[in-house]
Symmetry: C2
Subunit: 344 residues, 2 copies
């Protein structure tokens, strides 16, 4: 392995000079610089990241922590982060958190100085304890898809999103509108589902529609669980004419449930999702679009700014706008003549 010393020797200079050339520092004559550059090229020399990290006290790495790569929305955000970091000199270290132990390990891991110079937390707001630790260590952190007091956050107005979806359904004439979201999860303090539900309730209230508590259900964030839940909703004596779900993934589950019961969508059931993941357009799913990729990219850019000294280290909140994307799963309600049996 060739080191900076080899280069210095071959170029007939001191290692300090080589280092200067390497870092583009001022104060190297052109002649010398060229000589060094030739030596570097000839030897195919590449500086050791570890040595550099140790010496500079920074790792040139950014840690990205996210839950569940199974969620398209998370992946899309990560894509954005990757893109935002691409032009930079930073490597991206990826960790996923699916269990409390992992959470402990990952978040505390960030606190190791010189493991990462900064972190992007996707959908994982740090607990007060974790926040405290992060703060004392001084690693800059940007939070995506969650709000954490005192940390820059890239987020959306979930309450508004919930309103948008619900108002869309109300405008179409629905009044029996169900909400299907995530069950509270002690491990992660995901709040987006709750906020979307709050928006849903607010929209109903504003419209003077009584919210039927029986129409608000929640479960595991998966297509299967959503299908199950939706099935129960649809099998009620007085089923909803529309279902708003906290995510597109869950909306797909609802569509499955409807299909299993031979229900026409949107004729007999309207469905609104949230996120606008890639498959939503294929399915023709009406949804509340949030620019997922964008949030990741912005987070990366923001963190980079913070690392450069520009940019806020605290509390800035960037709100990304939402759009309702009407597609084929929503329409005017049409009462079902009779209860249907599931198809074959």
């Amino acid at each position: 392995m060739t080191t900076i010393r080899d280069v210095a020797e071959r170029a007939g200079v001191g290692i300090g000079t080589v280092s200067r050339v390497l870092n583009g520092s001022q104060g190297v004559s052109n002649r010398t610089r060229e000589r060094v550059e030739r030596a570097i090229a000839a030897l195919g020399y590449r500086p050791s990241p570890a040595a550099r990290a140790l010496s500079r006290g920074r790792a040139s790495t950014i840690a990205v922590t996210a839950p569940f790569l199974t969620r398209p929305s998370v992946v899309e955000r990560i894509r954005g982060v990757v893109a935002g970091l691409d032009a930079s000199e930073y490597d991206l270290s990826l960790a996923t958190v699916e269990t409390p132990e992992q959470r402990q390990r990952r978040i505390v891991g960030l606190c190791q100085r010189d493991r990462a110079d900064g972190a992007i937390l996707i959908s994982i707001p740090p607990t007060p304890d974790e926040l405290e630790t992060l703060r004392t260590v001084g690693v800059p952190v940007v939070v995506v898809d969650a709000v954490t007091e005192g940390l820059p956050c890239i987020t959306i107005d979930n309450i508004l999103g919930g309103r948008m979806a619900t108002e869309h359904l109300l405008e179409l004439g629905h009044t029996r509108i169900a909400f299907l979201g995530d069950a509270p999860d002690a491990r992660f303090a995901f709040t987006s589902s709750d906020d979307r539900r709050a928006g849903y309730l607010a929209a109903l209230a504003d419209a003077g529609v009584d919210a039927d508590p029986d129409l608000v259900v929640s479960g595991e964030h998966s297509r299967e669980a959503a299908a199950e839940l939706a099935g129960r909703l649809l099998d009620r004596p007085a089923p909803p004419t529309a279902i708003f779900t906290a995510s597109d993934t869950q909306a797909l589950g609802v569509l499955e449930a409807a299909r299993a019961r031979d229900l026409e969508v949107p004729g007999q059931l309207s469905v609104v999702g949230f996120d606008d993941i890639e498959i939503a357009s294929f399915v023709g799913l009406t949804t509340v679009r949030q620019p997922l990729y964008e949030t990741g990219r912005r987070a990366a850019e923001l963190l980079l700014a913070v690392l450069e000294g520009t940019g806020p280290r605290t509390g800035a909140r960037i709100d990304i706008p939402l759009t309702l994307v009407p597609r084929l799963t929503t329409g005017r309600p049409r009462t079902r003549a009779t209860r249907r049996r599931p198809a074959h």
Copy 2:
């Protein structure tokens, strides 16, 4: 920031001893060990990864290089890698390659010793040049979803997969079977699409069915491009009764094209995909299932074994079995009475 010296001082021992405790080395009395451990806990000390990397000559990091996080199959493989690495002491450094420049940078980046101790290349077989470089540097590499002479590879039999899909269609009675795959891409030497086509052709030949060159098309690997391509196929005077695509993503595009033309699936058109990505079951897509997650996990385990000295550094090829998953998009062919016009 507390260092090993602080710990040593507090415990009243030398730094060598602390290091031994840290690394579980032999030759530390229990009394001393406990004292040191107490000091570590009291100080909340965590060793610096950079210093450790420099000193040990290894980074405790594994580099994962993959193209396009937009492809569900790639993400699923990465999920597997993440899982396979979870219990290990290795961090995962993720890089994506979408352009030739990135490719250069990423793959050469691996050659910086002590940036990564090993690498997993997903769907990106190194060029001979790159292979040579990797080899001289000595970074252990495992290749997933590609075959590279001299490197351990986790792969599937794409030719067989192509056969399986095609034979399924032949058995149903189809003879006008189209193949829709990836256009050759100079940037990456993806071969799976070509291999699947080879299997398709072989199956046709074996069945004594003449392959119609007009029914073999290729384009960009995306739903949109596939929809476009499939549209042209379906608008021919003598359209195919079945289409086998090189991926599920492309199969979705085909389904879109069929839907746009109001074609019944599988009545008027059968569709077989490849991969069995998550959404395939929702769509009811008949497909050739490859255990994507599994390949990632196996790759991680294999690489870990290599790093431990167990495991082959060269040429082992692990072939993961495929399964045909018949769902709702394939059935017996039924000639279309007349050419249909696209529905509004």
